[in-house]
């Protein structure tokens, strides 16, 4: 239920966690075979203009959900202009073509069309949901936002001030402080270290020219991935794809994000804040999505602290000792690097004890791996819970985009459980040893913790 990966790293790829889950499927054989047989059918739709989308047709309700993503996200923001992608995402639905901001938003409101954009670290996403009767206009408004955003002075100033306000608010939020500091320590000079929303200083430097250049360079057909669910036929969708996206440039220059290396580690940073509960986050280098060991790592992380009440971290920190409401670990695979993270929040007096327990569990997993029983239980959960992802149109559409971004194949929904099933106890132990490095854990504590000694100063939160 918790999705700390998305939260902690502001990853755009919430859909990715879906894909990850997809990746897991062991078989409860009997019932689940039936489930898979009845799972949704994914169609590949290619428009006359050559634009591809993956579609799950569902005419139960008069609703259409579209999710889209351009490869390339906030990590590509120019030096000194961190937050550019996020600002574009916030402004392109504030007036486009002949419609000024209030006219554009007014039409969305009047027609009950939901249109949102978001900037992730490695991709730029868009999300459209409409009633069938307004389909034509909904796609038209999406096209206008992508191809003719106005960037009028009023909305640009307004959105800039709202982002600055939220940055200012976050500057005293312990979770946000901890997350930013950890990223800075983990990724150092790499763009992944920068906050996707930028800083007050970088926000001040972003010009309308920057916004226009972003739109021209980044909204390009060869980086576009589309997933659609709902009340639309392949023929209707094919036509809509051309009407919506054909105006975009066909080809783009290569993405230029350097590979990130997570080095060092083992450091402890304490940021003093007068709050009754300390927020603790920690991280180390991780494992990428296309690594052959990824599924094994995914299963092992579930056992350590990836969700569920039976995880080792929850058992030791919460259930046995009542030290925290929330304690977790997660995998964060990005396109150009990866980390594994974790965290908790506990009263200041017991931070040292909680941190020791987390480190101890990290070490125990690295040294001995999971037990056969734990592995079996994890596989049963991860495969059995897969169909739960199909609970709403936008969820499914997001999965369709995630599958394309991660090159998982159009038959991934059918195959996913077999990848989880294939993880053996030997795999799990080997991969646990490979990925978990308790001595390399970098720790950030925000609060007034006891029992913790800082080993270095907090890094500059440069951006």
């Amino acid at each position: 239920m918790r999705t700390p990966k998305c939260r902690a790293l502001k990853s755009p790829r919430c859909s990715q966690s879906v894909a990850l889950l997809i990746a897991c499927a062991v078989a409860l054989s009997i019932g689940l075979a039936a489930i898979q047989a009845r799972a949704v059918e994914v169609q590949r739709v290619v428009s006359p203009g050559g634009i591809e989308a993956w579609l799950v047709e569902d005419h139960t309700n008069p609703i259409i959900a579209l999710e889209m993503s351009f490869l390339g996200g906030a990590a590509l923001d120019p030096e000194g202009k961190a937050g550019l992608a996020n600002m574009v995402a916030s402004v392109i639905d504030e007036g486009a073509g002949p419609l000024d901001s209030q006219a554009f938003q007014g039409e969305l409101d009047d027609l009950s069309i939901s249109l949102h954009f978001s900037a992730g670290i490695d991709s730029f996403g868009g999300s459209l949901e409409t009633l069938t009767e307004y389909r034509g206009r909904a796609f038209e408004l999406l096209r206008l936002a992508l191809t003719e955003p106005r960037f009028d002075e009023e909305p640009v100033a307004r959105i800039r001030s709202q982002i600055v306000a939220s940055l200012s608010r976050e500057s005293e939020d312990p979770d946000a402080i901890a997350g930013r500091t950890l990223r800075r320590l983990m990724f150092q000079d790499h763009p992944y270290a920068r906050p996707a929303k930028g800083s007050e200083a970088s926000m001040a430097r972003i010009t309308v020219e920057d916004l226009r250049r972003f739109v021209a360079e980044r909204f390009v057909r060869d980086r576009l991935f589309v997933g659609v669910v709902g009340d639309i036929t392949p023929e209707q969708l094919a036509a809509a794809l051309d009407e919506t996206f054909l105006a975009l440039p066909a080809k783009s220059a290569p993405l230029a994000v350097p590979e990130a290396t997570v080095t060092g580690g083992g450091e402890v940073v304490v940021i003093e804040k007068p709050i009754p509960q300390s927020v603790v986050v920690l991280g180390q280098s991780g494992i990428k999505r296309d690594d052959p060991d990824y599924y094994a790592a995914y299963v092992v992380n579930y056992i350590l602290g990836g969700g569920g009440f039976s995880s080792r971290l929850v058992e030791e920190v919460r259930e046995k000792r009542g030290l925290a409401y929330s304690v977790y670990s997660y995998l964060a695979p990005f396109d150009y690097g990866a980390m594994i993270g974790g965290g908790t929040a506990t009263q200041n007096a017991r931070v040292g004890e909680s941190l020791d327990l987390i480190r101890q569990e990290w070490r125990r997993m690295a040294e001995a791996g999971p037990s056969a029983e734990e592995l079996e239980a994890a596989k049963r959960y991860l495969t059995g819970s897969f169909p739960l992802r199909f609970s709403s149109s936008d969820n499914i559409a997001g999965m369709l985009v995630g599958m394309q971004l991660e090159k998982l194949g159009i038959d991934y929904l059918d195959k996913r459980n077999s990848y989880i099933d294939a993880v053996t106890l030997d795999d799990a132990k080997r991969v646990a040893k490979r990925v978990y490095q308790p001595d390399a854990l970098t720790v950030v504590v925000v609060g007034t913790p006891e029992g913790v000694t800082a080993t270095r100063e907090a890094p500059n939160d440069g951006s």
């Binding site: 409101d109 804040k273 927020v279 009542g322 925290a324 169909p387 739960l388 609970s391």
Partner: protein
């Protein structure tokens, strides 16, 4: 008031309900589904077992999954003085085993079947749910029925869980100045009614909650005749009936007390609360007014004031072209954010609230004056026919989306039925909205937006001088 405390952290709620204004915004967002029912949208099937358990089934065949939930008509506002937080604490303890299952075993069974679960507590209800493959429904029912009657608690599991709840309180409230202010704001919004007390409880009272108190609360309130079973998903209502009779039908009925809620005295003076902290970087202001819930409005002369107030809320705060945002944020450029919130799905009172935050560096005083001017304008001139028509259209159109997500129907239905609402009321919600007239909106706003029943809350940075 629909903010619920959950047993397990959920990223969206947990991370985003930071400040009290953020909370209100989130409430407005959460609200949407509550308002989104259309005649025959959910098309529920309902029946009652001999022991008094009401069962509601909503068929949704999108995926071979089922949402199984048990709602008890008891919440934080049913606690006795001095035991604040008990309803929520018991919610946590319901996972601690029964006469036949060890602590956590039900959760293990759910996980082994690929299911997810959680629970939540409000002032008026406590609910437990699992989402699972449809062919596992029977296993969920068997165990949910078990803990309806066989809960077995001992200090060795209860006491650590009490520490967990205190950590939950620190995360949600004590670490967040906005949440601290929200707590105080509620405490003065309600002079007498228990909605003044936080769901999670005051820390000094949570600290004293005992196993015995939890068991007594459970014995008093948890019974089939004080509960509603709501099942949504890929199921056949007749099969649900058979399973419900098999597992829940055997749980004996028992005497459950009537809910005795005190009523508010006349509120004769506006109140102000103010929290200044160096941890506040962006000021925020909210003005909230005591307002009727569905149940209260239904007893009033007009009968549909709660619908009129939803239309009003949509006109004032329903998006980027609504009054407050378009005037204060876009036109005047004085605010960074602005909105309104109203949720009538409470057993007793509701609130109607406005919130604004200045742009960075902006002053609070002129923004408050601008907000007050908007409220005065509403009182003087009312809303227009065009605004009412557009708001009604948006609200009713939005109802279609409520059918999409599997969990929406059970959440809407459970909250309604535990707060005095009915299935008929939910199904006819679009008609209720469509029938609202401009005159009714203008009368409702005059009735509600009265200074003497208001609380103004200021979240402010500590002065540096």
């Amino acid at each position: 008031m629909e903010m619920a405390s959950l047993r397990r952290p959920v990223a969206t709620l947990f991370a985003r309900l930071a400040g009290f204004l953020a909370l209100m915004a989130a409430v407005a967002a959460i609200l949407v589904p509550w308002e989104e029912a259309r005649a025959k949208v959910f098309d529920p099937v309902s029946f009652t077992l001999d022991n008094g358990l009401q069962v509601v089934v909503v068929v949704n065949r999108r995926a071979p999954i089922v949402y199984h939930s048990m709602w008890y008509r008891v919440g934080a506002a049913d606690e006795q003085a001095g035991e604040s937080g008990l309803a929520h604490f018991l919610e946590h303890l319901m996972f601690k085993g029964t006469k036949t299952l060890k602590p956590g075993e039900f959760s293990e069974i759910i996980a082994a079947n690929g299911g997810r679960e959680n629970a939540f507590t409000s002032w008026d209800y406590t609910a437990y749910y699992q989402t699972v493959a449809a062919d596992r429904l029977e296993i969920m029912m068997k165990n949910e029925a078990d803990r309806m009657v066989n809960l077995a608690l001992t200090d060795d599991v209860v006491l650590p869980e009490r520490d967990v709840v205190r950590e939950e309180r620190r995360s949600r409230i004590d670490n967040e100045p906005g949440s601290q202010l929200g707590e105080v704001s509620r405490a003065v919004q309600f002079l007498n009614h228990p909605y003044r007390i936080p769901i999670i409880g005051w820390d000094h009272e949570i600290e004293q909650l005992s196993t015995e108190a939890a068991v007594a609360f459970y014995d008093k309130w948890y019974a089939p005749n004080n509960a509603i079973l709501i099942v949504a998903g890929d199921v056949d209502p007749e099969e649900v009936r058979d399973l419900a009779e098999k597992y829940y039908g055997v749980v004996p009925r028992k005497d459950v007390p009537e809910r005795r809620r005190v009523i508010e005295p006349p509120q004769n003076a506006p109140r102000e609360v103010r929290l200044e902290s160096p941890r506040v970087r962006q000021p925020q202001i909210s003005v909230s007014y005591l307002a009727p819930s569905y149940r209260q409005a239904a007893q009033g002369d007009e009968g549909n004031e709660a619908y009129a107030l939803q239309v009003l809320s949509e006109i004032i705060g329903g998006g980027a072209t609504a009054r407050l945002y378009s005037r204060l944020v876009v036109e005047q450029g004085i605010a960074g954010s602005a909105g309104a919130g109203y949720n009538p799905t409470n057993y007793d009172y509701s609130t109607f609230s406005f919130y604004v935050a200045p742009r960075p560096g902006g002053e609070v005083e002129p923004l408050e004056a601008a907000l007050r001017a908007e409220i005065a304008d509403l009182l003087d001139s009312g809303v227009t026919e065009e605004e009412v028509a557009a708001a009604k259209k948006r609200l009713v159109a939005g109802a279609v989306f409520a059918r999409d997500n599997l969990s929406t129907a059970p959440r809407v239905i459970g909250a309604a039925l535990t707060t005095g609402g009915s299935l008929e009321q939910i199904e006819s919600w679009p008609d209720g909205i469509a029938s609202v007239t401009t005159r009714q909106v203008n009368e409702a706003l005059k009735d509600v937006l009265r200074d003497e029943q208001s609380v103004t809350s200021y979240l402010l940075p500590e002065p540096t001088s």
